[in-house]
């Protein structure tokens, strides 16, 4: 295999960081990136986003709602609980719309503000941020980490590395546990874990998700964004010259060069960039933003914070690297309202309205009809008989009684439970029903009939489903 031929151009920019450790990884000979810690407006924003999102992920599985876990995807029972709402398989359209809504929001925000998702909300960013924080707490800052990795193995290095691995693995296992807790009730899961009596599925998914977290946030890091992420590959299709991007102001910065503090750059024939390479050192994907817009840039804006800090110390105006648009850099006005954003927002509004309309108008009951599988029909007492199994779904949380009626054939008799069917909240009752009709009323082999399920306490709550009544035909 020829590795050099596949190495992307990003490695050329990584030279400025001069990180010595080359590790063989999945995709290429990769220089480990040691992002320098950064403080500033956008770093604070990212820490806030990370805390809120992780807080939700690790916290929500412990919330209770009306006697059950607030958010629980109960796959064996085929029911999803989301706070006060219970979703059934027949609500599949809602899930599809929700996915569509998520995709359209991503397109809309990408067109408007670039890779906001990547920089602040993507699980890859969020968990990597936590793993980096742990690494920094245990191994020290960027220089200390690089020195430690270069040093020969010693008791001290072993102790530090073991501590880091222990923290990473413990955190990953907790993450795996939390993931499974959205499918198996968290309190049960905790009891089972404590008693070491987890089922095979739970064990597998806990380890699988934990391992994925450990691998992606501990080792793969920016490689996930560069090589594995489908969004990273197609996001450029949503970009135009009015999209917000993180960019270096070349006109202002060049020619770059070091200078003593207090020297007027114009007199020295220099731009505002002092070539301190701070922007390169803080970059989690190891690129140099001064080379222009690159697909590796996840828009995390760490370089903005780093550069603003340097500009402040140099007494230069901030924003040599800033959120801007290509049009703004060219000195043209930036248009927020344009064909692309209008189309995305109209689609977004349309799908959102449909979603909330369907969510609001969900019938709190459901009816599934299955024909008896053993026989098509039978004759008894001069009448033709068809047997059905009706599944009555009570989609509310409280118990309810339902009446079943049938229609479609003149003089048809219904032999059902006789009294309203009581179904517990969120439960399904199977009700056998026999329909009888005179052969004279059946001109065809198959005659359509309908079953209507109606709440006994509220006749306006009803659902009607069709079925077939089979006969000998004439």
């Amino acid at each position: 295999m020829d590795d050099t031929s596949t190495a992307p151009k990003a490695t050329t920019t990584a030279k400025t960081t001069a990180a010595p450790t080359v590790e063989q990884s999945l995709y290429e000979k990769r220089q480990k990136i040691y992002p320098r810690e950064v403080h500033g407006t956008f770093a604070a924003l990212r820490v806030t986003a990370v805390s809120v999102l992780l807080g939700l992920f690790y916290g929500v599985c412990w919330l209770r709602w009306d006697g059950h876990q607030a958010v629980l995807f109960d796959l064996p029972a085929r029911k999803f609980y989301v706070f006060g709402l219970t979703f059934w398989p027949q609500d599949f359209l809602l899930l599809t719309l929700l996915m569509l809504l998520a995709a359209l929001s991503l397109f809309f925000f990408t067109a408007l503000a670039g890779r906001l998702w990547c920089g602040y909300a993507c699980p890859q960013t969020v968990w990597t941020e936590v793993f980096l924080w742990m690494e920094r707490k245990i191994e020290g800052n960027r220089q200390q980490q690089m020195k430690l990795d270069k040093a020969p193995w010693s008791a001290r290095k072993l102790r530090i590395k073991a501590t880091k691995q222990f923290a990473w693995i413990a955190f990953s296992l907790w993450t795996g546990f939390t993931f499974v807790a959205y499918f198996t009730p968290a309190t049960d899961l905790l009891a089972k874990t404590a008693a070491l009596s987890l089922g095979p599925w739970e064990t597998f998914w806990m380890l699988f998700y934990g391992f994925a977290t450990y691998g992606n946030a501990g080792f793969m890091r920016e490689q996930v964004c560069k090589y594995m992420c489908p969004y990273a590959r197609f996001q450029s299709a949503m970009f135009d010259k009015d999209t917000l991007i993180v960019s270096y102001d070349e006109a202002r910065g060049e020619p770059r060069g070091s200078r003593r503090q207090g020297v007027d750059p114009r007199e020295a024939g220099l731009g505002d960039c002092i070539n301190c390479t701070m922007c390169v050192q803080v970059c989690p994907t190891g690129i140099d933003i001064r080379d222009g817009l690159q697909y590796e840039c996840i828009g995390c804006s760490a370089c903005i914070d780093a550069c603003d800090d340097v500009m402040e110390r140099m007494n230069y105006p901030k924003g040599l690297i800033r959120y801007t648009t290509e049009h703004a850099l060219e000195g043209k006005p930036t248009r927020i309202v344009r064909a692309r954003t209008i189309i995305y927002s109209v689609l977004l509004l349309g799908v959102a309205s449909l979603f909330f309309y369907l969510l609001g108008s969900r019938a709190p009951l459901g009816l599934d009809i299955m024909r008896d599988r053993n026989q098509l029909y039978r004759e008894r007492g001069g009448l033709i008989e068809n047997v059905y199994m009706l599944k009555v779904l009570n989609l509310r949380d409280a118990e309810r009684a339902f009446e079943i009626t049938a229609a479609g054939i003149e003089g048809m008799l219904i032999d059902g439970p006789g009294e309203p069917v009581r179904v517990a909240g969120g439960d399904v009752a199977e009700v056998p029903v026999v329909l009888r009709a005179s052969e004279a009323e059946l001109p065809e082999r198959s005659t359509p009939v309908t079953f209507t399920l109606r709440a006994a306490d509220d006749p306006t709550v009803s659902v009607t489903e069709g079925a077939k009544f089979l006969g000998p035909g004439r």
């Binding site: 590795d3 398989p89 599949f92 899930l95 599925w201 599988r373």
Partner: protein
């Protein structure tokens, strides 16, 4: 292997990874759609193994979908290669 050196395509493990990862995503979506519409308990009468639990059915279904999507990916990758090793891909631009 000679062909690879000549054509600068991704090495085998990476192509394998790309196929498996993307087919995994697609299989997840397909499993979701399939089992939201069909309850494995209702399929019980159609398959020769009636003793399968829902969770097992979901798992088997997922792996079958993965096999299918991965097979499609493998063939797609295979078909992007010239059938004759002497041919090199046409240069664009």
């Amino acid at each position: 292997m000679e062909l690879l050196a000549k054509t600068r395509w991704m090495p085998v493990p990476q192509r394998f990874g790309a196929v498996m990862w993307l087919s995994f995503l697609m299989a997840t979506a397909a499993t979701g759609v399939f089992f939201s519409i069909l309850d494995p308990d209702d399929l019980r009468y159609c398959v020769p193994f009636p003793e399968v639990s829902r969770m097992a059915a979901y798992t088997i279904g997922f792996f079958l979908f993965w096999l299918l999507t991965a097979a499609s990916g493998v063939f797609a990758v295979m078909f992007t290669y010239p059938p004759n090793p002497d041919e090199t891909p046409r240069k664009h631009g």
